[in-house]
């Protein structure tokens, strides 16, 4: 019964938005506070950095694999989308909701997932990129857990397409915000879970390893520092960066061994990384992450 209700809600949402077409002018006008007026950054450079940031889906999969239970209280409430009325907030929270959707998908909480999809669709429409979400298809996949792989594939492809589209529109600043929103939400969920399970060394290591990603995020933010909103965001991220300062990541290379098995090159990676992170580091990171995340979703 619930499935039918959500399907109908979803279909009505699709019906309302089906006449919407991407409009370059509207798209430009929507870029109010996130509008870029500073020096033009090489789109290939931005695209290259954006492309190397891992999907938040990887962290959700880690949480599930480590035996952590699904908890929707970790997520940003779908109804909050109404609060986001600048493209800066919309782009950041589109990223946040993207991570939340991935989290619900990984845990096969499809009914929650549909609520996030609806919010994502509305935010995407506000940013004039709603054309990337065919809610009818996604909704059909979401109501049946057998379609989990297809659902994950489709939503991941949609977010990749949005990133590519924004970059071709010379609005990679929104793409950067989308990515940052997604990353900070994944970080916040991980930190919350880690605080509930302090013995989980794997989660601590995951939090520590995000130092590598944070370096790339700081680089991306630096390209748009002339934008007042992004400059303020960067100041918050500098606090987080300082919390990461004492974390030491040591990499040791050792040649891999490789063989072809059933047509697949199977690699045994003999290199290692050692991440030195203390409880105190975790607490500081959790605190700064939570401050940034709460500012973003407020």
């Amino acid at each position: 019964m619930k499935n039918i209700f959500y399907s109908l809600a979803l279909l009505s949402c699709v019906a309302c938005s089906s006449g919407h077409k991407p409009d370059e002018l509207a798209f430009e006008q929507s870029l109010d506070s996130a509008n870029s007026s500073g020096p033009i950054v090489d789109p290939e450079l931005i695209g290259g950095i954006l492309g190397q940031i891992p999907s938040p889906l990887e962290i959700s999969a880690l949480l599930k694999a480590s035996g952590t239970r699904y908890d929707r209280r970790f997520l940003n409430a779908p109804r909050n989308h109404e609060k986001y009325n600048t493209s800066y907030k919309q782009a950041l929270n589109l990223g946040v909701y993207g991570t939340d959707l991935g989290y619900t998908n990984i845990y096969e909480q499809n009914l929650d997932g549909i609520k996030y999809l609806s919010s994502i669709k509305l935010l995407a429409e506000d940013l004039n990129i709603g054309q990337f979400f065919d809610l009818e298809t996604i909704g059909r996949l979401a109501v049946n857990s057998n379609n989990l792989d297809s659902l994950l594939l489709l939503t991941t492809q949609n977010f990749n397409s949005i990133n590519n589209y924004l970059q071709t529109q010379n609005r990679a600043n929104l793409s950067v915000l989308l990515l940052i929103g997604g990353w900070i939400e994944a970080m916040d969920i991980t930190c919350q879970v880690a605080s509930l399970d302090e013995s989980n060394k794997q989660l601590h290591e995951t939090i520590g390893s995000q130092k590598i990603i944070l370096e790339q995020i700081m680089l991306l933010l630096s390209f748009y520092e002339h934008d007042a909103s992004i400059s303020a965001l960067m100041a918050d991220f500098r606090e987080l960066e300082s919390a990461y300062e004492s974390i030491d990541i040591t990499y040791t290379y050792q040649a891999s061994t490789m063989e072809i098995v059933d047509g697949i090159a199977v690699i045994k990676d003999n290199s290692t990384t050692t991440i030195n992170i203390t409880e105190r580091d975790i607490a500081a990171i959790r605190n700064h992450t939570n401050i940034i995340r709460n500012k973003i979703i407020s």
Binding site: G51, N160, A265, I267
Partner: protein, 141 residues
């Protein structure tokens, strides 16, 4: 003289046809094929268009791989037999994986990552092969 002319003519036709084939590289369907070629249990992460124009010797992307995660990269190209070589380098440019082992080229690369960091995924092409393909990266925990 005639046979010499015929020889040069056939070389020219071959060269032009390879260049035309490259110019018409439409990697989208190869990308889709590589995505659907991801084995069960793996989640799709990213796809890569490999469009090497005649003078492009290598195409490179970077990605942060995470320790404890198993990655797989599936590869398709326009050649009858695969002619695209994928090589994975770490941030210090050490070679950590390839689909070319001896003279064999595998259409997928399985990499259980043991060291978190930035990696470079580089595509090169065996001589005489079309430089047009698609790849998909997937992961599982």
């Amino acid at each position: 003289m005639k046979s010499l002319l015929r020889y040069f003519l056939s070389i020219a036709i071959l060269t032009i046809s390879v260049q035309v084939a490259n110019a018409q590289c439409n990697p989208d369907e190869l990308v889709n094929s590589s995505v659907t070629g991801l084995p069960g249990g793996y989640n799709f992460l990213k796809s890569y268009k490999i469009d090497g124009e005649p003078d492009l010797e290598k195409i490179e992307f970077s990605y942060v791989l995470t320790r404890g995660t198993s990655y797989i990269l599936t590869l398709r190209d326009r050649n009858k037999d695969l002619g695209t070589v994928v090589t994975l380098f770490d941030s210090q440019r050490n070679k950590v994986a390839t689909n070319k082992i001896g003279s064999q080229l595998a259409s997928a690369l399985s990499f259980p990552c043991n060291a978190t960091g930035i990696y470079y995924i580089q595509y090169t092409f065996d001589p005489g092969y079309m430089r047009c393909g698609g790849a998909a990266l997937g992961f599982k925990r």
